[in-house]
């Protein structure tokens, strides 16, 4: 059983996150909130749901864009569930958007009762590698032995936290809550050192001290971007899971981003773009993932922060053809792959049958939706 909030770590992390986020200017808000010089926007909405009243970008572009603000995040201690390590963390309640298949109109979710946006990052307890696919997480919240909530946090992506599981969870009364989390086996193909691992579901329990004042505190710590930047193409600096992008800085988990395109093995077949997503496409000859044959490696990710885009349905049409299989490899990480003989001069399309079925935080809800095929030529 793990216990409670690590205040020191939380403070350190939130401070660092704010530094990482760059200058949070409030002067630009004047135009938005009148000229009375008030520098703190009113973010408690009428329905008493903290966080839900923050100003948002009107008519956001059809691209990854900078939101108006970033909310502080509090980390709890990591917990172990079987082979998985989970990092529970939380922030103010957020709007987010749920995907409905290949429909390009995601469903907006607004917070509707007091509580927190509760999140879990999951990584491999052995190698520390991120596991960015739906793991059917289950979360049961109890207080004084009474079950108060039970849900499956949604697989989602955010600019600062990358791929995680999260939801707006009602916490109404201050007190000690017990949270039970269950994780399913990995459903995606597992290769390399991951082959044969993550076959069992696992459950763990931790306690969480909730103080109603935390909501107001978190809201008070919201940092606004310079208003001129609201809605600009770009993304907030990643906060990661305590480790930031750089695993060498003493953080506890993996960063949120995938490796840069040229750090993968094999031959580059280019980095292609479809509705904002960047597809790193490479050819690996003599690959163990293809029975020592040729392997087509495709790694779609967000621009800027290189957040993986899981649970897509991708196929290849053209001089080669077939379905790309979502794969978690111990060395190559998350990607989609296909065994295929590639010859110079081959041309093929990577067809997106469905865009990433992950819920979207603000700034990602207008991209990776209506994704045209990308055309790849082999030199």
């Amino acid at each position: 059983m793990q216990h409670g909030t690590d205040d020191t770590a939380a403070n350190r992390l939130s401070r660092r996150a704010f530094l990482a986020a760059g200058t949070a200017a409030t002067a630009g808000l004047a135009g938005c909130f009148g000229d009375d010089g008030e520098s703190t926007p009113e973010v408690i909405s009428e329905n008493d749901v903290p966080g839900s009243g923050a100003p948002e970008v009107e008519n956001p572009p059809d691209a990854v864009y900078l939101p108006t603000h970033e909310a502080p995040v509090r980390m709890l201690e990591t917990v172990r569930a079987g082979e998985y390590v989970l990092l529970p963390h939380f922030t103010t309640q957020h709007q987010f958007w749920l995907m409905r298949g290949n429909d390009d109109q995601p469903v907006l979710n607004e917070p509707d009762s007091p509580g927190l946006h509760f999140m879990f990052a999951v990584w491999d307890g052995e190698t520390g590698a991120m596991i960015p696919v739906d793991l059917g997480l289950g979360m049961t919240v109890r207080r004084d032995g009474q079950r108060v909530d039970r849900r499956r946090p949604w697989p989602m992506i955010s600019q600062r936290m990358g791929f995680h599981f999260g939801d707006n969870v009602p916490f109404v009364e201050s007190g000690t809550y017990t949270v039970e989390v269950s994780v399913a086996p990995i459903g995606a193909r597992k290769t390399g050192g991951f082959s044969g691992r993550f076959e069992e579901s696992a459950t763990t329990t931790f306690t969480f001290e909730f103080d109603r004042e935390i909501e107001a505190q978190l809201v008070g710590e919201i940092e606004y971007l310079d208003e001129e930047r609201w809605g600009e193409p770009g993304a907030l600096e990643p906060m990661g899971h305590g480790g930031g992008m750089d695993e060498m800085d003493g953080g506890m988990g993996p960063g949120i981003g995938l490796p840069a395109p040229d750090s993968y093995p094999g031959t580059s077949l280019g980095v292609h773009t479809s509705d904002g997503a960047e597809f790193v496409v490479r050819s690996l000859s003599g690959s163990r993932l293809a029975g020592d044959g040729d392997y087509l490696f495709v790694s779609p990710r967000t621009p800027y922060n290189r957040v993986p885009l899981p649970d897509m349905s991708l196929s290849v049409e053209g001089d080669i053809g077939g379905k790309l299989t979502q794969t978690i490899d111990s060395e190559l990480g998350h990607h989609y792959g296909l065994t295929a003989d590639l010859a110079a001069g081959d041309t093929f399309d990577i067809v997106v049958e469905s865009p990433p079925q992950v819920a979207r935080h603000r700034g990602y809800e207008t991209a990776f939706l209506d994704m045209p095929p990308v055309t790849v030529e082999v030199d």
């Binding site: 409905r100 290949n102 739906d134 079950r147 849900r151 499956r152 459950t203 349905s313 865009p355 079925q357």
Partner: protein
């Protein structure tokens, strides 16, 4: 558990609350609230040979869908010792007494008796059904460990309460008819006691619970907001009846007890996604289910969309009914006869998914099809994958329901 307060809850909900509490006090309160003499008595010789043959006496709606009895109790029983022939006569006398006390119809009492693998092991017989076990790779259910299950069903709440008490020897004259014997001494109450209800409007009466949102449709008979048990999605009774061997004429019962996350279902998803995930994406795209499902008549037409299951998954959403229908017989006959019902046991909305099928393997096949672990792209383990995002499997149990002539301590 405390009795509900008749002054603060609607009458129908009050009566349902009494069934959930159970016991002598709840029964007394229930009998105080209903008209005396309203429940018909019965004749044991008029009961059909199959304990699960209820359809002939159940009402149908205007579309020909069979209407489930409104109130349910699942009574768990444990053997008190190793039973003998005289115990068998006692048990049979108890069941026949119930059949005299209540008519074989939903105004009276519909019931059947099933036996768990542990029962057969206790009496020294190879169990004719497997022990329950987890079926999907994401669940970790408790497994029913008691010996015998009595499924009690009636449209009258006092009937299921009174029949339960009468079997255990707590009431001597249910519906004014004397019990010539009871189960006491042979069986004692086991755990868990499960209760529930089905009926248009009943789920919406639970919005005082935090986990039941106000947005649940008023007319919905089930918590998920839609009708279920459409005539063409139900196995005929003969499809679930055992054809050969010592239990020919019987069936099997499996129970999967589930929690439901209704706030996400009703308030995070929209109607389109609910229809797409419960039926199929085509049902949503074509607007086939604008309301709670009355528009569908007696058929979900799901068979038209079964072949699209993998393709729909590739496009990001796949339907629950669509996935499950992959396990139908070649001629399209569904293998399960659903007699499931809503529950708020444990003060949380859920379903006791009780079904009859010829073999437990039939159920496992359907449940695996529903889990869709073979659908490896486009949808997540739970996300947009039927209703898996919203259900939590708590318990499983398997039972053999012998034909009526062998319902009392079979295998002795």
């Amino acid at each position: 558990m405390e009795l509900p307060d008749p002054d603060t809850v609607p009458r129908r909900e009050y009566l349902r609350g009494l069934v959930a509490v159970g016991g002598a006090a709840a029964l007394a309160a229930c009998l105080d609230s209903v008209d005396e003499g309203g429940v018909p008595t019965g004749d044991p010789d008029e009961r059909p040979p199959s304990q699960h043959a209820w359809n002939d006496v159940l009402d149908t709606d205007e579309y020909g869908n069979i209407r489930s009895p409104e109130h349910r109790v699942l009574l768990a029983l444990d053997l008190e010792g190793e039973p003998d022939q005289s115990d068998r006569e006692q048990v049979e006398a108890a069941f026949r007494s119930l059949e005299r006390a209540y008519a074989h119809d939903p105004e009276g009492l519909l019931f059947n008796v099933g036996y768990a693998p542990s029962y057969f092991e206790t009496v020294g017989v190879e169990p004719p059904i497997p022990h329950p076990k987890p079926i999907t790779n994401s669940e970790n259910p408790a497994l029913d460990g008691f010996d015998t299950l009595v499924h009690l069903a009636s449209d009258n709440p006092e009937v299921v309460l009174e029949a339960e008490e009468a079997l255990l020897g707590e009431v001597s004259e249910p519906n004014g008819v004397e019990m010539s014997a009871t189960l006491a001494g042979v069986f004692e109450r086991g755990q868990p006691r499960r209760t529930g209800f089905v009926g248009a409007g009943l789920p919406a009466q639970h919005t005082e619970m935090d986990a039941v949102p106000e947005s649940i449709p008023e007319a919905a008979p089930f918590f998920m907001g839609f009708k279920s048990g459409f005539a063409n999605s139900q196995a005929p009774e003969r499809r679930v009846t055992i054809q050969d061997g010592p239990y020919a004429g019987g069936t099997t019962t499996q129970i999967e007890s589930l929690d439901l996350q209704l706030r996400s279902w009703f308030e995070q998803d929209d109607h389109f996604l609910r229809v797409a995930q419960l039926f199929s994406p085509a049902h949503a795209e074509r607007g086939m289910v604008p309301g709670v499902g009355d528009e569908l008549g007696n058929s979900t037409d799901i068979e038209q969309f079964v072949d699209r299951t993998a393709a729909d998954a590739s496009e990001g959403v796949v339907g629950h009914a669509q996935k499950a229908a992959r396990a139908r017989d070649e001629d399209g006959t569904p293998p399960l006869l659903r007699r499931d019902f809503n529950t708020v046991d444990g003060d949380f909305p859920g379903i006791h998914f009780l079904s009859h099928q010829r073999t437990i393997e039939d159920f496992v096949r359907v449940r695996e099809a529903m889990a869709g672990e073979d659908l490896d792209s486009g949808v997540g383990q739970s996300h947009n994958n039927g209703i898996l995002q919203y259900i939590f499997t708590n318990r499983r149990g398997n039972f053999l329901v012998p034909p009526r002539t062998k319902r009392s301590l079979p295998g002795l």
